[in-house]
Point group: C2
Amino acid sequence: MNTTIYDVAREAGVSMATVSRVVNGNPNVKPATRKKVLDAIEGLGYRPNAVARGLASKKTTTVGVIIPDISSVFFAELARGIEDIAMMYKYNIILSNSDQNKDREINLINTLLEKQVDGIVFMGGEITEEHVEQFKHSPVPIVLAATVDENKEVPSVNIDYADAAFDAVEELIEGGHQRIGMVSGSLEDPVNGYKKFSGYKEALNKNNITFEEELVTVGDYSYDSGLRAAQSLMKLENPPTAIFASTDEMALGVIHGLQDDGFSVPDQVNVIGFDNTRLATMVRPTLTTVVQPMYDIGAVSMRLLTKFMNKEEVDESTVVLPHRLEYRQSTNIPEK
Amino acid sequence: MNTTIYDVAREAGVSMATVSRVVNGNPNVKPATRKKVLDAIEGLGYRPNAVARGLASKKTTTVGVIIPDISSVFFAELARGIEDIAMMYKYNIILSNSDQNKDREINLINTLLEKQVDGIVFMGGEITEEHVEQFKHSPVPIVLAATVDENKEVPSVNIDYADAAFDAVEELIEGGHQRIGMVSGSLEDPVNGYKKFSGYKEALNKNNITFEEELVTVGDYSYDSGLRAAQSLMKLENPPTAIFASTDEMALGVIHGLQDDGFSVPDQVNVIGFDNTRLATMVRPTLTTVVQPMYDIGAVSMRLLTKFMNKEEVDESTVVLPHRLEYRQSTNIPEK
DNA sequence: CTGAAAGCGCTAACAA
DNA sequence: TTGTTAGCGCTTTCAG
C-alpha cells in the first residue's frame, strides 16, 4: 500500500485539501502549515499519484508523439527537439513508432487519446482524408511536425520542401550542370517524394532544361538504395554530371556508389543531399546538403502544441521554417 | 463532455459492470448482451478512459524509458527494440532523455513513478550507490539496458564489453600488430570507457605487449573527437599501426582523420570500431567492428521487464548477449 | 450471467 | 487560511 494524501494529512494534522494545496504550490497556505505538511511528506516519502490527479483534473501533462521510426537519424533528431521543449514545459512524452503504416497511425492516435494525453505531435508521410478526419475529431490539439497537410487544415511545422529542392537544383544548374540526376523518395510520399521532385522539375523548367525520366530514380531512403541508384544512373548512355538526393542517407549511398565505380566526387559528379543530418560531415568528400533544421522543427512544433494546450492565441498555425544550402566538398559549384 | 461507461450502459440497457466486462473481454457475458453493448459503444463513439482505468486497476500499461540521448544512433536503435516489444505486449512508453546527468536521472525516475508506470527500462552510464538505492526502493521493476551494474544487484541486459574489446584487440595482435592505439570513452564511463579499456589492456597483457599510456586517447564519443584522436596518435614518434575505437562514430572519425592526413586505411593503419551501427557500412573503407546487438538488447530488456511485471519466474536476471567481430575493409587481418 | 456498490487518490468548488 | 464534500470514470468484489 502506497502512502496517500490522506496519510500525509493525518500525519501533519491538517485536511487533505491543505496537503493538496501545498503539493500544488497554492499560495493560500500559512508558512507554518506548509512546513508541517512538507515535513510529513518528507517523513512518509509521499509521492503524489499522477493518475489520480489526472482523473480529477482532466490533465495528464503528457503528450503523445507518433513517429515513423525512432531509429532513423532524421526522426531521432526531431524527437529530441520535441522532448526537450516538452520537458521544459513539464510535459512527458509517450513515443510510438508507426512505420508510416496508416492503420497503425490511426490506432496509435486512439490509444493515445484513451490515455488522455493533453496533445499530440504527429510525424508521418501522407496525410489522407481519414487522417484529417481523425485530427479534426480529436478532443485535444494535434500538430504535424515535418509532415505536410496539403490543405493546411491541421497546424504544422515544416520547411518549404519544394522550394528547398528547387534552390539546390538551381545551384547546380548555375554551376554549369545540365544533366542532373535525382534520387527521390516514393512519389507517393508528399515530402521526400513529391515535393522535392516537383522542386527539381521546376528548377529544370525555369532554366529551359528538358526533364528526362531516365534521370530520376526512386529509392527507399536507405543508404543502399542510394548506392544502387547512383550506379544505375551512371550506366546511362548520357550519365548525369550531378546528382541530387532527397535525403542525406541516400546521398551518402550515392557518393559511395560513384566512388565504388571509379567516379570521382566532385570532379566528375557533384552530389547534393537533403537534411544536413550528422551524416553529412561523416563522409569523404563531406556532403553539400540542404539544411533542414530538424531539431528546431521538433522544438517549434512542441512549442506550438503547448500554446494550443494552454488555449493561447496563435496567429499562424502553419509555420514554415527557413532552409539554406550548406556548401561542402561534394560539389564544386561556387558558393553564393 | 466525453461519453462514459455510464452512457453506454444506459444506451445498451445494462449495468456499467456489464459494459466494463465486454470492454475488458470478460467471457462471462451472454453473446446477445455483448452485442447490445458493442452496438452502443459503436453508436456513441465511446472511448474508454485509460486514466480512470489506471486508477481503479493500479495498472497503467505504460512503462518508463530513461535514455541518455535519443538522437544518438546507438540509443535510438536500442529504443526501437524496446518500443517494438513493448507494443507487442500492449504497453506504451514514456521516453525521457537524461544526458547521463545523475540528478536528472533520479528526477526522471521519480516523475515516472508518480505517473504510475508499471516498470522502467533504464539506460545510462555510471550506476552509483544512489542509483541502486532508488532502484531498490522502486515499487515497480526496473531493468538496465546496455548499462552495467557492477554488483549485479539490478536486472540488466548487456554484452560482455571487456571481453568484446579483448577479442577485437587480440585479433589485431594476431594479425601482427604490436603498436595498437585506442580511442576510449571517459574512463569514468563503466561501459564505453572502463570496460573496453580494460579489455584492451588485458589483450596486450596476455600477449606480452607493454601497455603505453601515450597510445590511449580519451574521446567524447563524437565523430570529431575520433578524428582529432587519430591525428594526435599519428603524430607520435612511434605511431600505431592499428587503432581500436570504443564506438563506431569515433571510429569513422578515426578513419577520416587518418585519411585527411594522408594515411591509407587499412594499408598503413587498421581500424576497428564498436557497436556495428548503421554507420559502419556508410564509410569507405567500410568499418570492421564489434557487433553489439543493440536492437536485441532493447528487445530483450523489455521482454525481461514484462516478465517481472507479470510476476513470472525468471531464472537469470542479468543476461549477457553474445558479441562477435564483423570483418570489413578497415582491417586486413585474416578473418577467423 | 448480471447488477449494486465501494473504492482507487486526487482536485476543485463551496463553506466556514 | 483551512476543511468538507462531491465527483473524475473505471475495476472489482460480492450478491443474486
